[in-house]
Every structure is written in structure tokens, then in C-alpha cells.
Symmetry: C2
Subunit: 510 residues, 2 copies
């Protein structure tokens, strides 16, 4: 397979230096910008048109690109044509092709057409909606889009919110707000400020995303404050274990401040029992944060909303548009019904940010997040929700769930494969387990052999370049994840993944 | 002034729904993407060509845009032509025009031509360089560009680093690393884990950026742990005050962990005495973090590097490419000679991120920052350093400094204006002070009158739409900042700002 280079046809004028580069002080001239931007668009449209021809994981070794580049920065300017010609020559061959329809690893991030066009506009306008004044359009589109997504997800008016970069940041903000809501006065006094309240504890299942533990590290709570609660056979948080942990921490004089319930865990997309957790949170006055970073998008589909039962009682919810909402990286939606607690955790207004007209019904969004500066993330979402329509988004998400359900039933029907977890959304966790080993899977020696075999199987599938899968461990078993959520993935790609898994297993067994 | 709408000439095909939108499951079709992207480029090139025709601050009230948009998300798809037509109709008229050459407020963020083209490529490839495996090109370009910038800034090989979103995040990472370096074991045990060491304290001048205090809030140290050190007549940290504060904290059993020295403060661009601070940091075993978010770019110019004396001794340094390096938001460079401390603060590798081949000489950059996911920020920098060349960047930054020096001397020569701070870089802090009040400025009643008059003066200049200035307070005096650093700003724009300040002062005095 020879991927198209896409380099042909750069306009000849781009091979020379722009007069602005020669001794001048200006930016690229408007004429050159227009020509170069059109040339860039053609390169990129070619790429998207042919993305399926590339091996998803580039067949390179670490350092392959770095070793081709000079260690010292260039002193003299280069023609933009030479720079753009490096896109097909150096950039594309060293990229992991997240836009390839066979990308079924991790959770997909699709740069959809309308999302990309939104990013183009965002890049040029260079808005910084840290204050309303520094970007009315960035601020108000964010307010509008947050409202649109909230309604589309079926959540009540009590939720307001903002767009952050990633779920890591969204969950960090939620837990920081929980510190304030618990009366710890952390923003002012630090975590040592109220020792009489006991050391704070955050609860999350052992299957919760690492970002929860990382938020505890960053926030100064430490990994020690992140209580990992045991899960049941379906990898969902066990309520009895949560109750015991709470009782033990209370007895030890510690201060439970928050519980994180996940709807769609990263490993197996398990759904924690949110209604029961919400009951406990209410009784124990814990901040309830719901992590729906991946699966939240499924709440767009009314028929699938049963899985989200109870999340309307959360204090905060994270759903990532840059996962299953086909939005280019980065965009994470943080919703909360307790915005003043977010503000208590992060607001700090020095004189040079004071805008002399602070009394008004709009947000200065920097007051709700750790960063001051922020990209305009709303415009790309505004574009894509309008382009697809909520109905179109529903249809696409529902189709992904159906593809996963089909794969799950194919796996279930196969004597040499087993499914390792329920499939509530669009991700299937499977293991190659030759029929003759059935019933012996849990013997330590067999398990070790299966782990090694599945690792080899995944590597063999990934080596084809047609499909990219990633793995996890479930009950200490190596599990291959097939995560569907890329807008460009069609039925034939999932079918191909399944064919390859079977074929490579046969080949490895031989 | 009627700004050009730029809406003319959208290709007619974009007025209809793409077949992919009608009941299908696909993304925008490749054909429509190509046509729509070219149309978007023309809109955006028109905008940049005519950006100077817009009023920098849009003449709107809060809510003006929001009130024009439906509160409910659209269920049905819209043609991309209708969406793009809203760029000139709704987006541009509600934007604060950061790309306007008269934008002299805050610190500028220029979306330069090559930087924009880099963002275009970034948006389409959708790379997530959290792991090498998930984006070799994103990871290795980041390694290369970090090395290029480090060398261009004249810093030694001992510094390695990464690109984050903003200086807020870069400084937060530095202080989190300082916690680990001080032996607090915060990532594991939390801030309560080592009470015998005393409560941690971070030192920064009273003129240091609010992000330092905010990092203390986020990290659980609290504002109480941020010791604001008094400054001298030039707004630089007083060494004697730092020494006293350290001695008092040691005597009280607290644990000094870090000192932040600023080269180019936000209010007046003051330069802290870094060599003396570095001596103290070495003696007291404090982490030395240098905040050069804005001014760091001036270290590109060898003749201006004297102002950076001592920063090569820092443990970490932040310089923001999205400020004076003409890079589209967001991009902050964090350099450190103690990368293992950063990693100790943030590394957490769950199974689903383990890549089975971790022994290799490349970074998995998520291990050095609070977030897991991350945009590829290196490519736009790679484009722009090559396009301008280091020499071209130097020339432009030097020219901005010369414009500021010229304005400073004009202000100094004017009987009715005074300059409120030295001008080491490209920002001038001034105050309108009618000659007849000379010698009485510090009388409380006069000061209050001057504050009010300068606030009105700044508002009057901003109301012209031609120039946008922001303010600060220096020694409790209202100061108008003229911050030069926008790539599109020419001598005539700074001259115009000065003319308007004088003319509006005369008008207000009348």
C-alpha cells in the first residue's frame, strides 16, 4: 500500500519567500495567506479522502521523526511551500491516524467536517473568552452551546456549566468545588486550614478513570484520599462496599467530601448504580460527580436514557464532546447545579482583569477553572450541532451502539472467543479463549497463557494497519477492547476487525 | 464605518443539505468538505485582510448575541452554507478583535499566518500526543520544538520541557513539582501527609501574576500559602523583604518550598532580581520558578538578554508562545531541569494506557501534566519558527521594544502625562496628569480625581474602536497600559494610540 502523498499541486508561488519575510516586520501577507490556506485545505481534504489508505499505527520506531529534524532552530525563513510539503513528507507518515475509520482503540476522537471548519474559524479569530469583554462571542456561544447540550442530554435547567479542555480538568474542577462545598475553605486556607474537619476523602470505583486519582494528586489530596471502591461482576460500583468505606472513614475521623459515579467506565464502559449512589450522597452530604466523559453522548438517544437514571441528581457531570460528539480535540463539557462552589474554588480577580462593569448577567468563565486564558471551544460545537442536528447525532450514536451489539452477539456465538463484560454502549471487551480451554480460564497458568496469546493477537491485528485496538485488564485478565465511536466507522470496519481477530487467532494457533 | 461582511461568494452548492446529512450516518462528504473549507478560507482571508476596519471592542451589550440564538438545540440539520453565513453575520460582529493591529490591551495573542496554517493541519489530523504511541508526530515535534525554543532563548541543555495550554497550567505544574522536590510526597500522601515538615509556603512578589496564587488555590496550598513579597520603586521583588519573609516562616515552623521570580510582570513588566533570588533559592533549597510568560520572548534577542540574567539557574521557566511568539491560542512552554519531579507529581499509568513498550527514549507527555488528553501544539510552532526564522522573530520583537521606547520618551516629554514604570520590554504604563497638578499627585483627593479621569480617558480611547487599551493599578494609582506585541501592530498604530490619548484628554478637560 502506497499512501497518496497529496503533495502534488502546491501552487508555484509558495516556493518563494514572501516579501514580508525578507527583512520586514509584518505577518504573512494577506495574498500569501489566502493562497497558502487554499493549498493547505487541498492537502487536508486529500488526506481525509484517503485516510483509509494509511496504516493506522505508523510502522516507525521511536525517534524516527526526531532524527530527521535539525536540533537547532532555523535562523533564516523558509518558503511556506517547503513547510507545507513536509505535511505529506514528514507529518502524515508519523501520525497515528485517529481519523481512520478502523481506529477502534481507546475512545475515538473524531474531527468531523463541521467541527474542523469551526476550528478553522477559531484559529483565525484568536478569541480568548476568559472575560466576557475579551470575547463576547466566545462567552455567549459557550453559554448557548452549554444550554443546547444540557437540553439535548435531557438534563434539567438547574444545570449550568462551561467547556474545558479535557475530562481531567472537568473532574478536577468538580472535586475542587467539592472541597469548598464541604466547608474546607481550601482555596483560602489550604488543605491544612481546617484540621478539625478531618482529612478529606473522595470515593470512586476501582474501575473509575485515572483522572480522578490524578485530580486527587494535583489538588493536594493525594492518591491516599482516593478511595477505590470494589465493583461487582459487571464492573459497577458495589453499594455495600461504598457504605463500608464511608463508615470506616467516618469512624476514623476522616471527612468524605465527594463520590464519583461513572456511567461508562474506560475499561469496560460499566455503569455505576447512580440512583443508589445519589441516595447515599444526599444522606452523607457528599458532592456527587458523574463521569460520563465517553458514554454521556448516548443520553442524546431517548431510548437509551435509562442507563443515565439518577444522573440528574448529580452536583456535577462531565461529558466530552471530543469523544463521542465528533468534536475535534479539545472540548469537555462540565455541567453543575452548584456553580457558586466552582467559583469559590477558582475565582481570583486582580486589578488588570477587572472590567469596571462586572454587574451583568454573563459569565467571566476564567472564574470557574484553574486556567486564566482559554480557547474558544463553543464555536466548533455550535457548527456541528447545527450541521448534524440533534436528530442526526442521535442516529449516529445509536448506530454505533447497534454495531457493538452485533459484534457482541458474534463474539458470544464463537466457541473460541469470550466476551468479558456487558455492552451497554458501543464498546466490546473480548478475549480469545480457544474452546478446549473453556472451564479452565481461571487457572493461573491458563490465564497467563491467555494473557500472552491475546497480547500477541492484538499486536497482530494492529500490525495489519487496517484496524487499531487497545487493551485493558478486567479481573486481572488481558482484555481486547473494540471501541466504536469514530464518526467514519461503518459496519464493514467493525466486521473487518472481527474477521481479523478470528483470522489472526487461527494463524497464531497454527 | 461599515465593516465588510465577507459573506458574498459562498458557493451555491453549500446552500443545500449534503446527502450525508439526510438520514445517513456519515460525516460531511469529502466533496462538501473541500468546497466548504475553501469557502471558509475565503471568509477568513477576507476577515484578516479587513480586520482593521472593525471596532476592536464590539459596540454591544452583554446578552446581545445570546438573545439572537434559540435556547433549544436544532433537531434538524442545516446546510453548511447557512452556518458559514453566520460567521460575518453573528460571529465577527460580536468578537473582540484580538487580531486588530490596534489591540494594545492585556498582552496580545497573535494568530500569525503560519500559526493559523499549523492549526488547520492540527484540527484535521486530530492527534492526541498523550502517549508516544497515540501520536509519534505530536510527541516528537514537541520534543524538537521545545529544543528549538530552548536554544533560541539561550538556555542550557539541562532544560527539557513540554507544551501546555496556558501559563496558569505551566506554573501550576512547576509548583506541584516543587511540592514533590521538597519531600512532601504530596502526590501519594496529600498535603496532610507530612505534617512534621511544616505547612508549605510559596513566595512571589506582590506584582506576580494571579496565576501563581490561583495555582496555590488549586493545589490545595491555599491563598494563605502564597506569600506576596513587597516590591521596590520599579515594582521588582525586594530581596530584603524576601529574606525577612523566609526567616519569619522558618521561625514559625513553616516549610518554604518555592519562589517565583517574574521577568516581565503583567502590570508593569517589571523584572525581579533573579540572580539574587537564585542565590537565596540555592541556599534555602527552594524550587526557583521563573515566570517569563510574556517577556520571555525577548530573550530571543541577544542584545536584550541581560534582563534574563540568572534565569538559567531556575528549576523551571514558563514562556508563552501564544503571547509574544505570534502563536494562536493556546501554547505555553514549560522548561525544567528537573523533569523527574514533574513526573513524580503527575505520573499515573493505568493498564489501559500502558503501551507494552515503555522502555524507550521518548516522552509520554501526559505523565508531566494534570490532564491526560492533550492537543498537538507543536506543529503550529514548528511552522512559524521555520516561516519567520529565529532571526525574523528577533527582528519583530526588537521592533516592538523600540516602539515602546519611542512612546515612553514621547510620554516623558509631555507636560500633561507621566510614565508610571520603567519600560524594559514593550509595555508602557502611563497616566494623564495635567501639568497644573504636578507635585500634588499623591494627595488622596488629587489621586482619586486622577483615577477617575484616567478611567474616563481610557474608556474614551477604547470607544473610538481604533485602539484597545487596558489598565492596572500601580501603587494604588490607575495606570493605562499600552502593551505592544501584536504582530500586526505598526508604528502608525502606536502613534495613533498616543494621538488619541492626547486628543481625548484635551476633550475631556474641556
Amino acid at each position: 500500500m502506497t499512501p497518496p502523498t497529496g503533495s502534488a499541486g502546491l501552487p508555484a508561488g509558495l516556493d518563494r519567500l514572501d516579501p514580508a519575510q525578507l527583512g520586514g516586520l509584518a505577518d504573512m501577507s494577506p495574498e500569501q495567506f489566502r493562497v497558502a490556506a487554499h493549498a493547505t485545505v487541498d492537502l487536508l481534504a486529500d488526506y481525509l479522502e484517503h485516510v483509509e489508505d494509511f496504516a493506522i499505527l505508523p510502522p516507525i520506531e521511536p525517534g524516527a521523526l526526531r532524527d530527521q529534524l535539525p536540533p537547532n532552530p532555523p535562523m533564516d525563513p523558509e518558503p511556506i511551500g517547503a513547510i507545507l510539503a513536509d505535511v505529506p513528507r514528514l507529518v502524515v507518515p508519523n501520525a497515528t491516524h485517529w481519523q481512520h475509520p478502523g481506529f477502534l482503540a481507546y475512545f475515538a476522537t473524531t474531527a468531523s467536517g463541521p467541527g474542523i471548519l469551526g476550528e478553522f474559524v477559531t484559529a483565525v479569530l484568536g478569541q480568548n473568552p476568559m472575560l466576557w469583554r475579551t470575547s463576547p462571542v466566545g462567552t455567549e456561544l459557550e453559554e448557548v452551546v452549554v444550554g443546547w447540550l444540557r437540553r439535548a442530554l435531557g438534563l434539567p435547567d438547574a444545570f449550568d456549566g462551561l467547556l474545558t479542555d479535557t475530562a481531567s480538568t472537568s473532574s478536577l474542577i468538580a472535586i475542587a468545588a467539592a472541597r469548598e462545598a464541604a466547608g474546607l475553605d481550601t482555596a483560602a486556607l489550604g488543605l491544612a486550614g481546617r484540621p478539625e474537619l478531618g482529612s478529606p476523602v473522595v470515593y470512586a470505583s476501582e474501575e473509575a478513570h485515572s483522572s480522578i486519582e490524578k485530580a486527587c494528586m494535583t489538588l493536594g489530596l493525594g492518591r491516599i484520599a482516593c478511595r477505590r471502591i470494589a465493583t461487582d461482576g459487571a464492573y459497577a460500583m458495589r453499594i455495600d462496599a461504598l457504605e463500608s468505606a464511608l463508615a470506616a472513614d467516618r469512624a476514623a475521623g476522616r471527612l468524605p467530601i465527594a463520590v464519583v459515579a461513572t456511567i461508562g467506565t474506560t475499561s469496560s464502559t460499566a455503569v455505576d448504580p447512580v440512583p443508589a449512589i445519589a441516595e447515599i450522597a444526599a444522606r452523607e452530604r457528599l458532592w456527587l460527580h458523574v463521569d460520563g466523559a465517553y458514554a454521556g453522548a448516548a443520553a442524546l438517544v431517548p431510548e437509551r436514557r435509562g442507563l443515565f437514571s439518577g444522573w440528574e441528581r448529580a452536583d456535577s457531570i462531565v461529558v466530552n464532546p471530543h469523544k463521542w460528539f465528533f468534536t475535534p480535540l479539545d472540548a469537555s463539557l462540565l455541567l453543575s447545579r452548584r456553580m457558586p462552589s466552582l467559583r469559590a474554588a477558582f475565582s481570583l480577580v486582580p486589578e488588570y482583569l477587572r472590567t469596571l462593569d462586572r454587574e451583568r448577567p454573563v459569565h467571566d468563565f476564567n472564574e470557574y477553572q484553574p486556567q486564566l486564558g482559554r480557547r474558544m471551544r463553543a464555536l466548533k460545537l455550535w457548527f456541528l450541532v447545527r450541521y448534524f442536528g440533534v436528530d442526526g447525532l442521535r442516529r449516529r450514536i445509536d448506530a454505533h451502539c447497534r454495531l457493538a451489539e452485533q459484534l457482541a452477539s458474534d463474539v458470544d456465538a464463537h466457541p473460541d472467543f469470550e466476551r468479558l463484560a456487558p455492552v451497554p454502549f458501543s464498546t466490546v471487551c473480548i478475549r480469545w479463549r480457544p474452546a478446549e480451554l473453556a472451564g479452565h480460564e481461571d487457572e493461573p497458568e491458563v490465564r497467563a497463557r491467555l494473557d500472552a496469546a491475546n497480547e500477541r493477537l492484538m499486536a497482530a491485528v494492529n500490525a495489519t494497519g487496517e484496524i487499531f485496538l487497545s487493551h485493558t485488564r478486567l479481573r486481572d485478565r488481558f482484555a481486547i477492547r473494540v471501541a466504536i465511536g469514530n464518526l467514519r466507522t461503518e459496519e464493514r470496519h467493525v466486521a473487518r476487525a472481527w474477521t481479523l481477530l478470528q483470522a489472526e487467532a487461527v494463524r497464531l494457533a497454527a
